[in-house]
Assembly symmetry: C2
Homo-oligomer: 294 residues x 2
């Protein structure tokens, strides 16, 4: 599989997820418009892609995989809409467009985020997502763990606390923060395939792949924050350095951060193939996390 | 059943729900503390009570009923924590104590509310809530409908839009707003018994009871806002009149509002007993909605 073929597949899956989102989201009122602004029209859909490709390992049907991918992207978008609020990271731009609270107002940002979290669970619970209620409730349980106080919310709270305290985190603390704030949903996205396929044995191996991928993804984010192109990113860069925040790059230096990310990706790929979960797409997804420019 | 016996039962159920919440909520960090502040130590637990009493109609086990009641109270608390934020209703007091964003800060209010919504779904999905995955996924689906853009979030958005526009709503609009903002979760609480009991036939009748009860409950709220005791309520009163907001009382007058609430409760009780869903507790709960002082 060439990286061009991978890029084409990533785009195709992103288009298919976009269409599912468009069909699943409500429309015709302010909150629906704000939800759509928050989730449609942007992003690489890497989380959704991981759902689709891990689901493919177990022969899961397309509508099941795409609904689950759409749910993950709604949950991800909810976290971005709330993290962008003035009382949190106070961001004006996201994917090159005004953030929800800048386009409308703060109340709309809070409520649209709230409704995006709700619809993520609603999509997972829909009978047309999977005929098996056990699989659907397994997804709900796993997404709740990724999303709540012991997952993304906990990570965001750690991040804000560190910024307020003004004492930069060390490497262990940054790793924990990242595993909650970014890693938890990437882990869910990879476990989703095993949950949908009813394959409990594969789940820990996909989780291990996801944890290495998630950490490498975050290190690449920190590298792009220092080296990246603001226009291509569609958001403000260099924010962490300007705020004096510790990142993998500030703690390790550029070269060592690059090496750590590369090592993580090797581990992820070797672990996966050793478990007979070999997938060219998941291999390329791991390499992409390392080389992406946005 | 005397109203004293009802009051004692309401207190006992509230105590049991409080114990379940204490056991189910996380602890040991800022977000956990804020979640606990938002949901523990207060409230009549009327929504949880409705879950417990409708579940009792179908012989549902106590742990199933109490977990579901705890989930409803977490969802209710999430909506209060977010509605209290400065960008929404900007309230300093709730149940006689500082609101979450006043005790901590806005970011903590947003995140604790987010995590309370998440944990509501997590509790419903837990295997120990019900042995039947179909019942659990049915609860998740119904709670998502009550909570999201077509439910509570939609109602709160209507409320804010009306306030911003400065043109008071008419009776039909107020009724719609209330059916979303308050009614949807009361309806879920009553339907929960039928979902847990696997009794699809009873569900619409419990929903009809809930809709009448919910509307009467809101009318009573509007009456208490005009006539109530601020110390007993534990929150600021007369806010709606001061803000020039339309309420059932401003539109109907005190006497007609009282009469409408009383008629609704009669309809709710008659409808219930006609369907052989007779429950002295649910009858008294309806009467309580009409006569409560806080």
């Amino acid at each position: 599989m060439t990286s061009d073929a991978f890029a084409a597949r990533l785009r195709d899956v992103a288009d298919a997820i976009e269409q599912r989102l468009d069909a699943l989201l409500p429309h015709g009122d302010l909150i629906s418009d704000a939800m759509r602004h928050g989730v449609l029209g942007g992003g690489k859909r890497l989380r959704g892609f991981l759902v689709v490709e891990t689901a493919a390992l177990f022969g899961v049907s397309e509508v099941t995989a795409l609904n689950t991918a759409a749910a993950v992207e709604c949950l991800h978008a909810y976290s971005l809409v709330h993290d962008d609020l003035p009382c949190m990271d106070d961001d004006d731009l996201r994917r090159g467009r005004p953030t929800v609270h800048r386009k409308w107002d703060e109340a709309t940002g809070v409520l649209a985020g709230d409704a995006l979290q709700t619809i993520a669970f609603e999509i997972l619970a829909r009978p047309d997502t999977h005929s098996n209620a056990q699989a659907r409730i397994g997804l709900v349980m796993a997404l709740a763990k990724a999303s709540g106080q012991a997952g993304m919310v906990g990570g965001q709270a750690m991040d804000i606390a560190a910024e307020t305290a003004g004492s930069p985190l060390n490497l262990d603390e940054i790793s924990l923060l990242q595993s909650l704030k970014t890693g938890a949903l990437i882990r869910f996205s990879c476990e989703a395939g095993a949950i949908l396929g009813g394959n409990a044995d594969a789940r820990p191996h996909l989780a291990a792949y996801a944890d290495a991928l998630g950490l490498a993804f975050q290190i690449r984010d920190d590298l792009l924050d220092v080296e990246g192109d603001e226009d291509a990113a569609g958001k403000a860069l260099n924010k962490d350095a300007a705020a004096g925040k510790a990142t993998f790059v500030s703690l390790l230096g550029i070269e060592q951060a690059r090496q750590k990310a590369a090592d993580l990706i090797d581990t992820a790929i070797v672990n996966l193939s050793r478990q007979s979960l070999s997938s060219p797409m998941l291999e390329q997804a791991a390499r992409f996390a390392l080389t992406r420019q946005t």
